[in-house]
Every structure is written in C-alpha cells, then in structure tokens.
C-alpha cells in the first residue's frame, strides 16, 4: 500500500456499498481459481486413473464413493457444478460488457443478479436430477 499522505485513494471494496455487480465480479475470479485447482486436478486424476487400467480406475471410484468420501465428493461436486455455471454465466456477461453494452445501472444490476439466480437454480436442478432423477 502506498502511504503517501494527501494522495486520493482509489475506491476500494471497503469503501463502496456492495452491489451484485461487485459480487459477481469477484466471484468470477474466485470460481475461476476453484475450477483451475480442484476442477483441473479432479479431471486429470480421473483421466489418469482411466489410462492406468481397470484396477487403478476402480481405486479412484472406490475412493470417491467411500463412506466418508461420498459426502466430501458430494460437497465438491455441488461446489464445482455451481462454480462452473457461475464462471460460465459471468464469462458470458463479460463478453457482452466487452462490446460496450450493458453498463446502464439497472441493466447491469439485473444481469449481474441473473448470473447468480441462473447458476444456483441450474445447480439445484442438475443435482436433483443426479440424485433422484436417474
């Protein structure tokens, strides 16, 4: 932090009143980091297990569906689903914003809120289908 006295401070998270646009902006980063770490490791682990033969693959499945891990994987699965959808919707929002459209206060607030509504509803629908629908 630059501590030179008298210089104007950049508006910061702690100064502005929070709004949906700020929340989804920071969530885009947070979900991106989650997907790049937990998501990428799980995907690679799964591919690596499949390439290592039936026994290694079965160990991966047993590990993911064990009595305790089942609940951990449920939390990770729901979390990754939501993170993926949220990152996808805010990513699509960024494509629109990149064209210079959607900066009017009401429009911006509306679509920022809709990324949250969309990601939460779709995550609930997908997991309801995975648990009860199949």
């Amino acid at each position: 932090m630059n501590s030179k006295v008298g210089r104007p401070l950049s508006p910061h998270l702690t100064i502005w009143k929070w709004g949906p646009h700020m929340l989804v902006s920071i969530l885009h980063r947070v979900t991106g980091i989650g997907l790049a770490t937990v998501g990428a490791v799980l995907l690679t682990w799964w591919l690596c297990a499949a390439a290592s033969g039936p026994e290694a693959y079965q160990r991966f499945i047993d590990c993911a569906t064990g009595p305790v891990m089942k609940w951990v994987m449920l939390v990770i699965g729901v979390g990754l689903t939501w993170a993926f959808l949220q990152h996808m919707f805010t990513g699509l929002r960024h494509f629109v914003l990149d064209t210079g459209a959607g900066y009017e206060l009401k429009t911006n607030k509306f679509w920022a809120t809709m990324t949250l509504v969309g990601s939460i509803l779709l995550t609930a629908a997908i997991w309801a289908w995975l648990i009860w629908g199949r």
């Binding site: 980063r29 991106g32 980091i33 997907l35 790049a36 990428a40 490791v41 995907l43 690679t44 591919l47 690596c48 499949a50 390439a51 033969g53 039936p54 693959y57 079965q58 499945i61 993926f84 996808m88 990513g91 699509l92 960024h94 494509f95 990149d98």
Partner: protein, 129 residues
C-alpha cells in the same frame, strides 16, 4: 518503453509490462471452452455408466479423444493466463511474483501434460487399456 509519445506510453505498460495478447487469447479460449465444456458435460451425462470399460471405450474413439485433447489445451491455457492476471494483481513483491508465476507454469503445464498423455494412451491403445 518509448520516448514520451502517446503510443510509446501505451506500449509495454500494465502491471506485467507485457501481455496485451493475453486479453485476446483469454476471450478466444473462453469461447472454445464454452463449446467444448458443454460437449464434455452433456456427453458424460449421456454415457450409460461411468465404469472403466464404458469410459475407456468412449475416450478411445477419435471423435472423443481429439475434442478432449483440444478441451485440455484450451481450458488449461485459459486458466494459466487467468491465474497469471490474478497473481500480477495481488502479488506485488517482485521476487514472490516471479516465484508464483514459475509455480503456476509448472502446475498448469505439468498437469496438462499428464491429462493429455492419459487421453493419448487410452486412444492409441485402441480402447484396450
């Protein structure tokens, strides 16, 4: 850096002093990720089961293996440059920043190579892995 002209001031600035092409690549790979990830998730959901024979049979087909390789390339490159922006924004100490960027490259290239090799091994073994 330029001698004070407007274009000289624009060139080579930003927190990393380079990387304007990343802005464009970030969006290009985002579009590819959107298509490839939807294909991947819907294909997985449509598989009759996720046991070894089914998964390897599916991954072994050229029309699965090639999009999967493209998905790994696009997604891993996308998060490599995405996390680089994150590091450049929040890690201000030069030595720590360089260390973080080296670790990021090792992580994304290492993990990406492992994922790509696994797909190739399954595909080139003709589904018999």
């Amino acid at each position: 850096m330029g001698s004070g002209t407007n274009i000289g001031r624009v060139r080579g600035l930003g927190s990393a002093r380079e990387g304007g092409h990343h802005f464009w690549h970030q969006r290009l790979t985002a579009a590819f990720n959107f298509v490839l990830m939807l294909w991947f998730v819907i294909s997985l959901a449509r598989l009759p089961s996720l046991d070894h024979a089914t998964v390897v049979g599916w991954l072994g087909s050229p029309l699965t293996a090639v999009p999967m390789l493209l998905l790994v390339a696009s997604v891993f490159y996308h998060f490599r440059i995405g996390l680089q922006v994150f590091i450049e924004d929040y890690v201000h100490d030069e030595a720590s920043k360089i260390a973080c960027l080296i670790a990021l490259n090792a992580y994304s290239i290492g993990l990406g190579a492992l994922a790509a090799f696994s797909i190739l091994k399954i595909a080139l073994a003709g589904g018999m892995a």
